[in-house]
Symmetry: C2
Subunit: 393 residues, 2 copies
């Protein structure tokens, strides 16, 4: 296949890079954010909506699609692109993260992971080889190595063992992958230890994948710690290959991590927040259910060019959320995704203009991240709600 | 205001009529079906979607909008059209049907109806005058008299008392309505008694409204009985005014009742069925959750021109429903509404060509209505689920 990644301009003052990912289903200007469509649908949106918000590549999930509807079904329907009617680039996650989010529902050994399906309780066994086979059948443009993903807070010994296992699996994924026109990315682990991240970067890049991801972050660790690990790790990653930070998607994290030299991101955060009525604005995240929006004639965000802000008042969105009307989730999702896509467009343009450092400072000065405690509490609630019942997105 | 209704062609073999309703927000070719958007949103769809499926006029509900967000809010936001960003014609139902669907949550006297809000349990009092005031503030193109709607099966004495009260209220609605550019329709009652329907038609038409509705049907009575009452009633209604049959929306009922001379219909059935995974096809209603759709590459209905059938396989829709993905409800709603809109377009064209009788016979021969027992059971389940908790749509 043709060159997957070409690096365009790099920032003179930060690690930020503007490049182009070229896949069999089209090109993606980087830095890029991928909306998450775990089950073969970005929740509440059609492919047309995705194009309208400016999505380039989207992420789907091998774990979810393997369990339902199953890769045989998707294969018979012409592969994942055909199945979901999305003819743009797709990246599939291997399912490692989902399996490990199932808590006590799984057992792991070097062979692979045994777990119970969150849908019907059936026992499932996932190995690196099977994760690759599944992803080959789904037919995404980029696929991910099967990895183990320990939670933040495990001790160094556990993180190291887990990293070693992910390395073993990365090698087996590399060996078993054979589908042409599909790029397999390796995943760097090592938790929040700089030393382990160094070791992992050395090991995984030695395997010579066409692209590399940083896994095992954005799992509840302090933001500053995450930024420093991303910066350290990215600086050790090969310059000519794409760098993908998994699971990151808050506006402030995107801007910070672009500055560290990351090219690609995914996160269910913007879409999940949207369904909860939390919408982004230039200044901060807003709760549209708040009574102050009840008679707000203007849009959610006067600076936004999305169809929700163009066509509907904040008051109408407030009403839809209070009534739990289905349209609420779609309109808010369109807004939040467009917000993130526009942010990435601005980020990229500023890198091309070599004004990214200024853009970053101005953005972070203006945008007020949601209070860390509020976020931690939200995350906790979400984890509890999901525990032992649902894998993470 | 200009002439509300002009009658074009009438069928030479049935009572079917093709006409045009002209409202301040545009014209509607009749016979027409109105999608239901009780809370100021046709569930899961944007106004753009509604235009795409071919919707002309839509129905919203004064009961729902009065309770939430309240007419003061909608008034401050420029009226209902502005609020929901729909610039086509709107008809609002008065709320009578909803109040009476609340069962023991309401008390009624000639003054009006006392009921408890299904949202917060607050005591509410709705009178004919208030129902008109609410609807004037909402600003729909067509509004409805406040009426009492007894269930099917009540004895003749109760139906007569209720009818007399609806007559009294119709007169009071007529007197209190003053908003220009807004047409108030009277509603004919009398249950399934031909004699009462005759009396009611005489009384209500004597009040000289710009249009008339047939209320109190499609409440569980046998279909043949409903058709005969509609036929009888319609034949007594003035020819030059629009005739609206409330709450009817199954494909077979639409075709049958057009033949009786009805011009306008509304029903939550096509949209509610869609959200349950029941989708229309040329031959019958299908349950998309059925296993036989799991690998069906073709669309739900090969004859359909909707965006769902154009872009997605039945297998994908099956998957979305099995996963309870939000997109499922929207795609199925688009399909069912487009099915009904296209049916009405075909019906109208056949009236204009004077081939309606043939169209009707061919349609009814081919289309297999859902078995009466299945429907009765579904309706019962739905009524039970809603009883004392939610008003009907």
């Amino acid at each position: 296949m043709s060159q997957l990644f070409s690096l365009g301009r790099t920032c003179s003052r930060t690690g930020a890079r503007a490049g182009t990912l070229t896949t069999p289903h089209g090109s993606v200007a980087t830095p890029a954010f991928m909306p998450v469509g775990s089950q073969g649908t970005v929740k509440a949106l059609t492919p047309d909506d995705l194009r309208t918000v400016g999505a380039g590549m989207i992420l789907a999930n091998a774990y979810h699609l393997h369990l339902r509807p199953g890769v045989e079904v998707i294969g018979r329907l012409g592969g994942l692109h055909n199945f979901m009617s999305w003819d743009g680039p797709i990246l599939t996650d291997s399912g490692g993260f989902q399996v490990f989010s199932l808590g006590h529902l799984r057992r792991v050994s070097d062979k692979g992971a045994v777990f119970r399906s969150h849908i019907d309780g059936s026992e499932q066994f996932l190995t690196p080889e099977l994760a690759i086979e599944i992803q080959e059948k789904l037919g995404a443009d980029i696929i991910m190595a099967f990895d183990e993903c320990p939670p933040y807070g495990d001790d160094l010994r556990i993180i190291r063992e887990s990293m070693d296992r992910s390395h073993l699996w990365a090698r087996r994924c590399r060996s078993s992958h054979s589908r042409d026109g599909q790029a397999l990315f390796g995943i760097i682990h090592g938790g929040t230890s700089v030393e382990l991240r160094r070791q992992s970067t050395a090991f995984v890049t030695e395997l010579d994948f066409p692209g590399y991801a940083i896994g095992g972050l954005s799992l509840g660790e302090p933001k500053e710690l995450m930024y420093s690990i991303v910066e350290e790790t990215a600086s050790l990653m090969p310059e000519e290959k794409p760098r993908y930070l998994m699971g990151v998607g808050s506006p402030e994290d995107l801007v910070e991590c672009v500055a560290c030299g990351v090219d690609l991101f995914d996160s269910a955060l913007p879409t999940r927040l949207a369904r909860n009525g939390a919408v982004f604005s230039r200044d901060r995240r807003l709760n549209i259910r708040n009574a102050r929006f009840a008679v707000e004639e203007g849009p959610i965000d006067p600076d936004c060019d999305c169809s929700t802000c163009r066509d509907f008042s904040a008051a109408y969105l407030h009403h839809l959320f209070r009534c739990e009307e289905l349209l609420a989730y779609r309109l808010a999702t369109i807004h939040n995704l467009r917000f993130v896509m526009r942010l990435m467009e601005q980020v990229r343009q500023s890198i091309l203009d070599d004004s990214f450092a200024r853009f970053k400072d101005a953005f972070l000065k203006r945008y007020q991240p949601t209070d860390a405690d509020v976020r931690a509490e939200q995350k906790q609630k979400w984890l509890e709600a999901r525990r032992d019942r649902q894998p993470l997105d």
